[in-house]
């Protein structure tokens, strides 16, 4: 209990102290460096020293006698750092870990992102919520390729404050010359990055020089210690000075008399009486109340989680963005953005993903990869797909218009994540560069004769019969018989066949995954047009990926899309091998052949599953006709005219 006795501060003094701390600020930062730069040692040093300082400050409330420095510092520090090392040795992946320490002035949250392999992904994750980045450099080696990469990613993620920690200065004899050399080289390099503050500090994390305690061995250095700088650097008025933005998270409706909109203010300030606009609909109203459990507030600012009521009842739901009517965000369904890919399976243009942007979720596809960025050289390189840890500048197309700002102006309303629709994994992170104006200038031409009118004239219900299955499964044979049967019944049909389409519309595409995705996207769009024209459209494509079949289903509309899985085992297909392709593929003469060296993802819930081994194709085709009849696709022309069955 001797520790307790040392500190005799009364409870009242402690209360005052604690209450004074209520106004304490918070700083989130990340540390970037390779294993050998001493990153773990630096974090360990900060955690260790600040704990001592904190205890000292408390003791100093009444007693001024206690001094740190009596502990075997090196040993304790090593223990802290060893905790991290031990995890690595056990093969436990720490991709991003968060560590905490505090001083009198600020509480700090450190994003610790070790590891080389996933560096881009992990650093981007840590940087996304950080106010500041500490870039470590080994004084002996100076700027490395990694230093440039770290600076680039920090800048891309919108970090405006950087500390260049020139570490291991003890190993270059605390040389001012060496420090200046590195500092100047970095400053010249970083001019393009638009950092608001850039502080270079010579230090030795191992011995604590200039980390929390001013070094006695570097009289020539007049700048702050790392901790002094972290405690005092001015951060974060940027969002406050931007126009008001409020993504609606939740509509608060406890009873009929109250209708509030709950969310976190993403930028700017709001006061009672301010005119706000619902970005997507353009409807406006004025702020009536800013509601909190401890009474209403006259105003609120960026970062606060509040509930707002408006003077008028206008249609607002989760996903809407409220903004000051004087300065509105972009509303578009096309945008250009930087994308960081975080998944083992690459991104293919044309494949659809879920995009969560603010509180809204839509589907999105990359329509064009403008270029990829080599993070080591900053060169722009061309690419057909984006692989794990790659950064690309892309055009994206969304399923519906969304409201957003450029990331540069607002990290909250300008950022999004992409989610895989099948695995639900977070696969990409994006930063909006600008809205593509095409979206606002190309409007849908409203047609007087619509789908319903055409279908009525043809006396039928349009649909897509999407046959999927391995090469040689019998898709085209069955589809051809089905079309003949429909034709005999007087139905208007058209067949899109994989091989035939590749001779014309898709002759520019090969068989790599990226081309297969685009192949199916185009066929999906064409089927949509044919359905719009009122036709029963038969599509016979291997279409190996679930994601693209789902995309086609979405384009066409679920009630007009019939997925037919021709489920023939690969052994049987190989045996049939009508075009001799399996033989060639197995001999290695054809690359990317589905079922051999390219995957086939079987449908999970197809409308129809056909098994045709040992069966007459006529009989199998009849099964399709029966399905259509049973599900009201082949209603008599008379009832179509009445609108029934549609």
């Amino acid at each position: 209990m001797s520790d307790t006795e040392t500190i005799t501060a009364s409870a009242e003094t402690v209360t005052d102290y604690i209450l004074a701390q209520e106004e304490k600020d918070q700083l989130r930062f990340l540390t970037c460096g390779s294993v050998d730069d001493g990153k773990s040692t630096l974090i360990g040093r900060l955690l260790f020293d600040t704990k001592l300082i904190f205890e000292d400050q408390l003791a100093a409330l009444e007693k001024d006698s206690r001094r740190h420095g009596t502990v075997g510092e090196e040993m304790d520090l090593a223990l802290l750092v060893d905790g991290l090392e031990a995890e690595r040795e056990q093969g436990i992946t720490i991709d991003v870990a968060y560590r905490f320490f505090a001083t009198d002035k600020r509480k700090f949250i450190v994003a610790d992102t070790p590891g080389h392999e996933q560096y881009t992904r992990n650093m981007a994750t840590g940087a996304s919520t950080a106010d500041l980045a500490v870039l470590l450099v080994d004084a002996r080696h100076g700027l490395m390729v990694q230093t440039r990469r770290h600076a680039y990613i920090a800048s891309l993620l919108g970090i405006r404050h950087v500390v260049l920690a020139i570490n291991k200065i003890d190993l270059v004899d605390f040389s001012q010359e060496r420090f200046e050399e590195i500092r100047q080289e970095f400053a010249a390099f970083a001019t393009g990055f638009d950092f608001e503050t850039l502080e270079a500090i010579p230090m030795s994390a191992r011995y604590g020089d200039n980390v929390t305690i001013r070094s006695e061995k570097m009289d020539w250095f007049e700048g702050p210690t790392l901790l002094e700088h972290l405690e005092t650097v001015q951060i974060g008025i940027h969002e406050l000075n931007q126009p008001f933005r409020f993504p609606v998270q939740w509509v608060n409706r406890p009873n009929l008399d109250f209708r509030g909109y709950s969310g976190t203010i993403a930028a700017g300030t709001v006061s009672i009486g301010d005119e706000l606009v619902v970005a997507a609909s353009g409807k406006t109203s004025k702020v009536q109340e800013i509601v909190t459990p401890v009474g209403n507030q006259p105003s609120a600012a960026a970062g606060e989680a509040v509930t707002i009521t408006l003077e008028d009842e206008i249609d607002i739901s989760r996903g809407d963005l409220l903004a000051t009517s004087g300065s509105r965000p972009d509303v578009a369904d096309q945008m250009a953005a930087h994308l960081i890919w975080m998944n083992d399976a690459p991104l293919f243009p044309g494949r659809s993903y879920l995009m969560k942007i603010g509180t809204k979720t839509v589907t999105a596809t990359v329509t064009e990869i403008k270029h990829k960025i080599n993070v080591n050289t900053f060169e722009q390189v061309a690419g057909k797909q984006i692989d794990l840890n790659e950064i690309a500048f892309c055009n994206l197309s969304l399923s519906a218009p969304v409201a957003f700002d450029p990331y540069e102006a607002n990290r909250t309303t300008g950022s999004f994540i992409l989610i895989d629709r099948l695995t639900n994994a977070t696969v990409g992170a994006g930063m909006v560069w600008f809205a593509l104006r095409r979206a606002t200038n190309i409007h849908w031409q409203a047609m007087h004769v619509d789908k319903q009118a055409r279908a009525t004239n043809l006396g039928q219900r349009p649909a897509v019969l999407w046959f999927t299955g391995l090469s040689g499964s019998g898709k085209s044979t069955i589809a051809s018989i089905v079309e003949r049967k429909l034709h005999l019944e007087g139905r208007h049909t058209y067949t899109l066949d994989g091989d035939n389409v590749r001779h014309g519309l898709n002759r520019d595409l090969g068989f790599a995954d990226v081309d297969r995705v685009e192949n199916i996207r185009r066929v999906g769009e064409v089927s949509k047009l044919f359905v719009d024209a009122g036709l029963i459209t038969l599509v016979s494509f291997i279409s190996p990926f679930r994601a693209e079949r789902d995309l086609a289903r979405e384009m066409v509309g679920s009630d007009e899309f019939i997925e037919i899985f021709v489920d023939t085992p690969i052994e049987e297909c190989k045996k049939r091998d009508p075009k001799g392709l399996y033989a060639k593929a197995e001999a290695g003469e054809i690359k990317n052949f589905t079922g051999i060296d390219s995957p086939y993802e079987a449908p999970v819930n197809p409308e129809l599953r056909l098994s045709n081994v040992g069966r007459d194709p006529e009989e199998v085709a009849e099964e399709v006709i029966e399905y259509l009849r049973a599900n009201n696709y082949l209603v008599p022309p008379a009832s179509i005219a009445d609108g029934a069955g549609i």
Binding site: V14, Y98, R99, F100, S128, N252, A305, I357, T359
Partner: protein, 309 residues
């Protein structure tokens, strides 16, 4: 009006207000994105803060989800009393679940040890309850500063259909964009207090005047010394072993769990400021008061993979 704006734009939110806003944002995201969420309520100080934040997040509505307490039946009596009073006071729905098979077999910490007891009455019971009610999201009050494996856990922590956690395959989590997509049977554990430290929790309790279980405050209580820990004799299910004597000591608890597994500390801190003062000068970390983490065979990470919170 204009001057207000100028003043605001030079101000940043304080640490506590920033943490509060972040937690409220997380709680609202879960309520908005999940079909059937639940808030795990363990009665301790972190749970109390989390509940306080949930009340704020939806005001003037009530939180749109029930509370659930996984009751091992070995909690301190004061905890249960406090739990029932809190739910009554706030007008909330509470689900209490105990593992029926565990009860039938009479699983208890004295005869079966902390590891077996915790596994059956806590981890298994939690999984049972989540499955039984089909919850697709469960809030927990865990903090990243508590323990090493927590430091790397996401705010939205994905669990497979067996409620297991895969630390090597976590979803990247950027900005405040939490991915709440799950397939049938999968779920998310949501941790709104991820970025709070123990000091933040106490500061917030002090400034917001949040009610606490009396066990946190020092009082004369009957205890025995066992395995180097002071165990409170909370009811007559506890057998006093030969050589042990029940002594009345001025003690309090830094963390709350099952009474036979939770060590008391000798203390005269009977007010919040005194507790905070004591906490500020304490060198031992918070969880050292819990027997459960000392079990070598059951590290936190292993437990979490199995579905523990």
């Amino acid at each position: 009006m204009d001057t207000t704006h100028t003043d605001l734009s030079s101000d940043r939110l304080s640490n506590l207000r920033r943490l509060e806003a972040e937690s409220i944002h997380i709680i609202r995201e879960v309520a908005a994105e999940f079909r059937n969420p639940v808030m795990l309520y363990s009665i301790g100080k972190d749970s109390s803060v989390m509940l306080h934040l949930a009340m704020k997040a939806f005001y003037p509505s009530k939180p749109p989800f029930p509370l659930m307490h996984v009751d091992t039946t070995w909690k301190f009596r004061d905890m249960i009393k406090f739990r029932d009073e809190t739910v009554e006071r706030l007008g909330l729905d509470l689900i209490v679940h105990s593992n029926p098979e565990g009860l039938e077999k009479g699983i208890n910490p004295f005869d079966h040890g902390s590891s077996v007891h915790t596994h059956i009455m806590k981890t298994e019971a939690l999984k049972q309850a989540l499955t039984k009610y089909g919850f697709d999201a469960a809030f927990g009050g865990a903090r990243r500063d508590e323990e090493k494996s927590r430091a790397k856990e996401r705010v939205f922590s994905f669990r497979n259909t067996n409620h297991g956690w895969d630390p090597k395959n976590q979803r990247p989590e950027l900005w405040n964009l939490y991915n709440g997509r799950v397939s049938k049977g999968e779920s998310i554990r949501a941790f709104p207090l991820s970025n709070w430290t123990e000091l933040d929790i106490w500061q917030y309790i002090l400034t917001e005047n949040i009610p606490m279980v009396p066990l946190y405050f020092a009082a004369p209580r009957p205890v025995v010394e066992r395995d180097g820990m002071l165990i409170m004799v909370d009811d007559d299910r506890m057998t006093i072993l030969p050589g042990e004597t029940v002594e009345e000591k001025l003690v309090r608890f830094r963390t709350l769990g099952c009474y036979p597994l939770t060590g008391a500390i000798e203390s005269d801190a009977d007010t919040l400021p005194k507790i905070v003062r004591e906490m500020l000068i304490a060198r031992t970390s918070e969880r050292s008061g819990r027997l459960i983490d000392h079990d070598d065979s059951a590290s936190m990470e292993k437990k979490k993979r199995e579905g523990y919170f």
